[in-house]
């Protein structure tokens, strides 16, 4: 089982991208946490002190947005592609 996690913009600068995860049975939140915890700054950019996705973080599964509270419940399946990105704000 393989799931691809793609980070964008600042998250990519902090954590890299196109990370393949092999563990089965994880929720989106747990999968992303497992990857992000390797770098504190990256983890803190995405998750709050309660381990929840920060409210502005955009989570997508196979191109469809997942509400951040639901990301703690949705379990990933083989072949899924998870995209995590911040709204870029500057102009």
């Amino acid at each position: 089982m393989t799931v691809k996690v793609r980070f964008f913009a600042r998250f990519r600068e902090l954590l890299g991208t196109d990370i393949l995860a092999e563990e089965a049975g994880l929720t989106i939140a747990d999968l992303v946490k497992g990857i992000a915890k390797t770098k504190k700054e990256g983890y803190d950019a995405i998750f709050d002190e309660h381990g929840m996705f920060r409210e502005f973080v955009i989570v997508m599964k196979n191109g469809k947005r997942v509400e951040t509270p639901d990301a703690a419940k949705v379990v990933v399946a083989d072949g899924d592609e998870i995209a995590i990105f911040p709204p870029v704000a500057g102009g």
Partner: protein
């Protein structure tokens, strides 16, 4: 009708979309919110392309720290209102079009009057609260909203067509925290010209718009990608979560 000078000026692009396309550009009125990093390339390229009426709104004064990216403004403009600087440059670029530069802060109270009868709103802002306001105004008026945003070497853009594509709040329902964002001028150049390209395509009915697609540019790796974006049924701006009824949207 075009003058001899206009024919000569635009001949390399009428090869692409004909006199008819050029006429559409000339008749159009485009509203650009912001004369900063994104607003600079957007306004310059729309002016030289011959968009007949361009309104630019900005409240700021040119600061030295703007000069690394805001190419509408030069050293001699430091301390001037951005609107004064912008109107001077844009008139120099194209004396055959009408430029309105309005020195004010865009707010809920004035946004409808500012946008007036414009055919499209271009997002050259640096914050989400005003972007949300522009997004809702575009939805109300049934005109397109050309979104763009930048940070560092990265940027994003999408074209919102009321009634057919997701709106800004469908995709980005929550504003990120405010920050003094790092940025290099070329990123504003890339994203601003993508937005201006979208405007020209929309007005001349050329190509395929960034409708329902989020364009994501990563300058550090020189990669461009797109993410398909979907309408959010309960979106507070365009979905069932919105208080008033939105018009279906006029299509050009």
């Amino acid at each position: 009708m075009f003058s001899e000078r206009e024919r000569e000026r635009y001949k390399r692009q009428t090869m692409l979309f004909g006199d008819e396309g050029q006429e559409r550009l000339k008749k159009a009125h485009i509203f650009i919110a912001g004369a900063g990093g994104l607003g600079s390339p957007i306004a310059i390229y729309l002016a030289v392309a011959g968009v007949g009426t361009i309104t630019v709104v900005d409240q700021d004064v040119v600061d030295v720290s703007n000069l690394n990216r805001q190419i509408l403004h030069a050293e001699r403009d430091v301390g001037k209102k951005k609107t004064v600087s912008a109107i001077g440059k844009l008139q120099q670029y194209n004396g055959d079009i009408t430029i309105n530069a309005i020195d004010t802060t865009i707010s809920e109270d004035n946004v409808r009057d500012l946008v007036g009868r414009a055919d499209g709103i271009v997002d050259a802002m640096d914050n989400y609260p005003v972007r949300y306001l522009l997004n809702r105004t575009a939805l109300d008026l049934g005109i397109p909203f050309f979104h763009g945003a930048i940070r560092g070497f990265c940027g994003q853009a999408t074209t919102i067509l009321p009634g057919s594509t997701p709106c800004l709040e469908c995709v980005f329902p929550k504003a990120p925290p405010k920050e003094v964002f790092p940025v290099v001028g070329v990123t504003a150049g890339v994203i601003g010209t993508v937005q201006a390209t979208e405007v020209i395509k929309y007005l001349t009915k050329s190509g395929r718009l960034l409708a329902g697609r989020l364009f994501i540019w990563d300058g550090l790796t020189s990669t461009a990608e797109e993410i398909a974006i979907a309408r959010h049924p309960a979106c507070p701006a365009c979905g069932t979560g919105s208080a008033g009824k939105r018009p279906a949207g006029k299509t050009k």
